[in-house]
């Protein structure tokens, strides 16, 4: 290092790629440890959950609950849960609400966002105001409940879909995408005599696959994860989606009886059953996670301020 100062060229201190000075070795160790611990805290619970769902009776009894690694893997818990009964039914309901809800959300949100991006929409500013102010003025839990009741949606699966079908935030995300499309496309199509309908189908949709995927995923995760709407609007436990089942049997600690499981051949220990239910409710999220991760930065940054 001392030799460097004697060179005719100006001495450059070592620096990182983005120009930052290198950190002190002790700080580097501390930072490495921080990241390692943070990641372990996130990963470890998942490992324990999956392990317990696969562990056999002996091991769970010995551990008194959760195990960190299954000695002998068995899928008994999953077989039992999928035999029929509350968990299978709830899974079916969750899948229905998520798929139908996401489809309906996209079918309504995208056209509104598109219409808002066109200058020829009648009353464009008023519509925009209605969308934006719905973010600011939330009507409150009781009045919303009364409206849902008055519209006859209480105790119906549609109560889990229709009230939350259009999210103003997602409208804005899609709107800003449509606005970023080159306007020359629209103008030249207009000159060629295309109708708004043709423009939407033939020009806009093919360009918008990514934004549909992003917003669809946001909606889908929302429907899949929603639990409070079920608590609020559904009295009948036979309509419960998966999150309510998790609440009742995992958070609430109720025991799953053989009858509730549809009388499986083997009745695995309760911890294994509970963890199997948790795994089932986490898996869809983990499956779409790579896609979410690819696109979510865009979504969250677009609407960052209204997180």
């Amino acid at each position: 290092m001392t030799a460097l100062t004697r060179r005719p060229a100006p001495a450059r201190r070592t620096q990182l790629r983005n120009g930052q000075s290198p950190a002190h070795p002790v700080m580097r160790v501390i930072k490495g440890l921080t990241l390692l611990i943070a990641c372990a805290l996130v990963v470890m619970p998942f490992v324990a959950i999956v392990s317990t769902s696969l562990a056999d009776n002996d091991q769970i009894t010995r551990a008194g609950g959760l195990v960190l690694w299954p000695e002998q893997s068995t899928f008994d818990a999953y077989t039992a849960v999928f035999t029929g009964g509350v968990v299978s039914r709830a899974l079916g309901i969750s899948v229905f609400v998520t798929t139908v809800g996401t489809a309906l959300s996209l079918i309504t949100t995208a056209p509104l966002a598109y219409a808002l991006s066109r200058p020829t929409l009648v009353g464009r500013r008023l519509v925009m105001m209605l969308v934006l102010f719905s973010l600011l003025f939330t009507p409150g839990m009781l009045p919303t409940y009364l409206a849902v009741k008055q519209l006859g949606l209480l105790n119906s699966l549609w109560a889990l879909i229709i009230p939350t079908m259009v999210n103003a935030f997602n409208v804005i995300v899609m709107h800003s995408f449509f606005k970023s499309l080159p306007q020359e496309l629209f103008n030249s199509a207009k000159i060629d005599g295309a109708s708004e309908w043709q423009i939407m189908i033939k020009i806009v949709l093919p360009l918008s696959k990514a934004i549909f995927a992003v917003v669809g995923l946001f909606y889908g995760v929302g429907y899949w994860n929603s639990f409070f709407t079920s608590l609020l609007y559904l009295d009948d436990s036979s309509l419960w989606p998966l999150q309510m089942v998790v609440r009742s049997y995992v958070v609430g600690g109720s025991q799953l009886s053989p009858a509730e499981l549809g009388n499986p051949e083997v009745l695995p220990p309760q911890p294994a059953l509970q963890m199997a239910i948790l795994v089932i409710s986490i898996i869809p999220i983990v499956c779409v996670y790579p896609f979410l991760q690819k696109h979510f930065a865009k979504g969250v940054l677009t609407g960052a301020v209204k997180g």
Binding site: L35, T120, L142, A147, L278
Partner: protein, 339 residues
């Protein structure tokens, strides 16, 4: 590079929506001026299909966001569900008396809400800033990506799952306590202990959202001009000096903006998260304003009073958001929207 484009999206949506739409191209401006002169009916006839596009979603927004606002009138009624809004007796402001006469349960709910907000602002808010700074200083892109992938995941899990996970790990027969017992210790009561409840809530929020919240900070950090670092490096600045003189000043804007938004949201604390754990920990430690409304209104049938509390909370929240936005403008930040 992707992030940089996203950054534009932020400024576009934060500044634009309430402002007049900028003419998107030279051709569209005269078209609009001409159409403004024509009658509403003529314009509707010409562009009816766009109105048709907007209609279904708009109907949903009106039905479930604006129409229910009218339902707030039950705050001025002795509302009984079987009589409906039309048949229930009007009682003026007497439901609001609870706010002034000091019902102990209500005061406890307000106090809990404010304490939780304060604790979470102090502990939860800085965590992603620290994590983002650590991540930003990493040399290896691959390690950075991996850590991000892991840390973002819990954000997408529901509160039901997060609460379950905590219970399984820290509960009476959870992983931690079983381990302690096997090693001859006394089990700790963490779940269901009123004294620990706020700490538990705070650690759950941190577990779920610290990673996710770094996104914004990382986006800002990636925008910092590397010349600044290089110049300070040549001047002999250490890493700490660079942090103090380059990095933190660049993050000032986003930190102020997020703090202000947090202020606007301070009466709302994790409703789902708390309602899930209320049975275990008891109502005294866990009642907040939102759960008070739920427990007294929907569960307790005391509709008028609960609606009055909800209405006052809603109004104060709007005032806080608008006020916070005003403060943001005073700080020279763009805020949630611009005039």
């Amino acid at each position: 590079m992707d992030v940089r484009r996203d950054q534009h999206a932020v400024t576009a949506t934060t500044t634009d929506p309430l402002a007049a739409p900028p003419p998107s191209s030279a051709q569209s401006a005269p078209v609009r001026r001409r159409s403004a002169k024509r009658s509403l009916g003529a314009r509707l006839r010409e562009n009816w299909i766009l109105s048709l596009f907007a209609a279904p979603a708009l109907l949903i927004i009106i039905l479930f966001h604006y129409y229910p606002l009218l339902g707030n009138v039950i705050a001025f009624q002795d509302y009984l569900p079987f009589l409906g809004i039309g048949g229930s007796e009007w009682v003026g402001f007497s439901n609001f008396a609870i706010l002034f006469n000091g019902d102990p349960a209500f005061i406890a709910a307000v106090r809990n809400t404010l304490v939780i907000t304060l604790v979470q602002t102090v502990f939860v808010f800085p965590a992603p800033i620290v994590l983002a700074l650590v991540l930003n200083g990493l040399v290896s892109e691959r390690i950075k990506r991996t850590v991000q992938s892991i840390m973002y995941l819990p954000h997408f899990l529901s509160w039901v799952i997060v609460v379950s996970v905590f219970q399984q790990l820290l509960g009476g027969s959870g992983l931690l306590n079983n381990w302690i017992r096997q090693h001859g210790g006394d089990a700790l009561q963490i779940i269901g202990n009123p004294d620990d409840f706020i700490a538990l809530l705070t650690s759950q929020v941190m577990w779920k959202d610290t990673g996710w919240a770094t996104i914004l900070f990382l986006a800002v950090l990636s925008q910092i001009n590397t010349d600044l670092y290089e110049a300070s490096n040549v001047d002999g600045a250490s890493r700490w000096r660079q942090l103090w003189h380059v990095t933190l000043p660049s993050m000032r804007g986003i930190i102020i903006l997020l703090l202000i938004l947090k202020l606007g949201d301070s009466l709302t604390v994790g409703f789902e998260q708390i309602i899930l754990q209320q049975d275990a920990v008891g109502i005294d430690a866990s009642e907040v304003i939102d759960t008070y409304v739920y427990n007294n209104g929907i569960v307790g049938g005391n509709w008028g009073v609960a609606a009055a509390v909800g209405l006052v909370k809603g109004v104060i929240s709007v005032v806080l958001v608008l006020g916070a936005n005003k403060v943001a403008h005073l700080f020279g930040e763009s805020g949630v929207y611009q005039k």
